[in-house]
């Protein structure tokens, strides 16, 4: 069993926020996301009908900010464990509508690093949390991503 104390990584990164980019939300990006995932709700795909909705215009589907999270460059935590890495899981907490013309500032922090033993042996999970804040200062969404590291053998 690997314990927390035995995992070698840069612990000074834990909980420290990093500004990792500003993302422009365009109508084209919202429509590309919505149409490719088969959305039919007019608030996501029909600019004119969306004007009559409670949102007063086009908004992005609830998991939209996930695509920006995938583009973020995170600091290397210097983990000395394993030689394989996988995207193990993701969570999104939706806070406020995202609209065309929004500018989302992203801040990310290393949330936790912990060991686990599964059927494929020892693993270490690296968890990052990223918040997206719009130009009005409202949080649009928080995304938590888990990456698992393990050895080939």
């Amino acid at each position: 069993m690997t314990t927390d104390d035995e995992i070698q990584y840069n612990r000074s990164l834990l909980g420290v926020e990093h500004e990792v980019g500003v993302f422009e939300v365009t109508k084209e990006k919202i429509l590309g996301f919505a149409i490719s995932t088969g959305e039919t709700d007019p608030v996501f795909v029909d600019e004119e009908k969306a004007k009559e909705s409670k949102y007063g215009g086009l908004i992005a589907p609830p998991t939209f900010c996930n695509i920006f999270a995938g583009d973020i460059k995170r600091p290397d935590i210097g983990l000395e464990f394993g030689d394989l890495g996988f995207h193990a899981g993701q969570a999104i907490e939706y806070k406020n509508p995202v609209r065309p013309g929004d500018t989302l500032s992203a801040k990310t922090k290393l949330k936790e690093v912990y060991p686990k033993t599964g059927r494929s042996g020892k693993m270490v999970f690296e968890v990052w949390e990223t918040s997206f804040t719009n130009q009005r200062g409202d949080t649009a969404a928080t995304v938590r991503e888990s990456f698992v590291h393990r050895s080939k053998t």
């Binding site: 490719s36 995932t37 589907p61 609830p62 998991t63 939706y94 938590r144």
Partner: protein, 146 residues
């Protein structure tokens, strides 16, 4: 509210969500990746050869795209619902053009700080019934009492 609005009061713990069947086709993934990355360079998501070189059985669906389809399962079940949280585990890869089953079950409901919330487990399974993605979601449904 429309006639197909699903109200908080109409939902019980144990209710099924779906199932619905969806094949995420190659063209959809190509369009999604374009919206995501703004380019068309070959990756494991959009190019069979790159996927094969990485030892995959075929190009795969990005995890974040599968989350969008799970989100649709929930919004089709309860149109107009607010999806507050979706938390998933990617257990196995999802391949293009395979008919997958998306489903869920209501596990809890309650009034949380004035919000009429419903919690559920969600799944994406392959044709053999293997659950490739599992997760939990928290939804806010309209209430007849508000």
């Amino acid at each position: 509210m429309t006639s197909d609005t699903r109200y908080y009061e109409d939902v019980d713990v144990g209710d099924d969500i779906g199932p619905i069947e969806r094949a995420i086709n190659h063209g959809q993934v190509v369009e999604f990746v374009k919206a995501w990355t703004n380019d068309t360079k070959p990756t494991r998501f959009n190019d069979p050869e790159t996927a094969a070189n990485e030892g995959l059985a075929g190009p795969i669906v990005p995890g974040v795209m599968t989350m969008a389809f799970i989100s649709r399962l929930l919004t089709e079940w309860a149109p107009g619902v607010s999806l507050n949280t979706l938390d998933v585990v990617f257990r196995q890869l999802v391949l293009h053009d395979v008919v997958h089953t998306l489903s869920g079950i209501v596990t809890d409901k309650g009034m949380i700080e004035g919000r009429s919330e419903v919690q559920c487990d969600v799944f994406l399974a392959d044709p053999e019934g293997t659950r490739l993605i599992i997760g939990k979601a928290i939804l806010e449904l309209p209430s007849r009492e508000s």
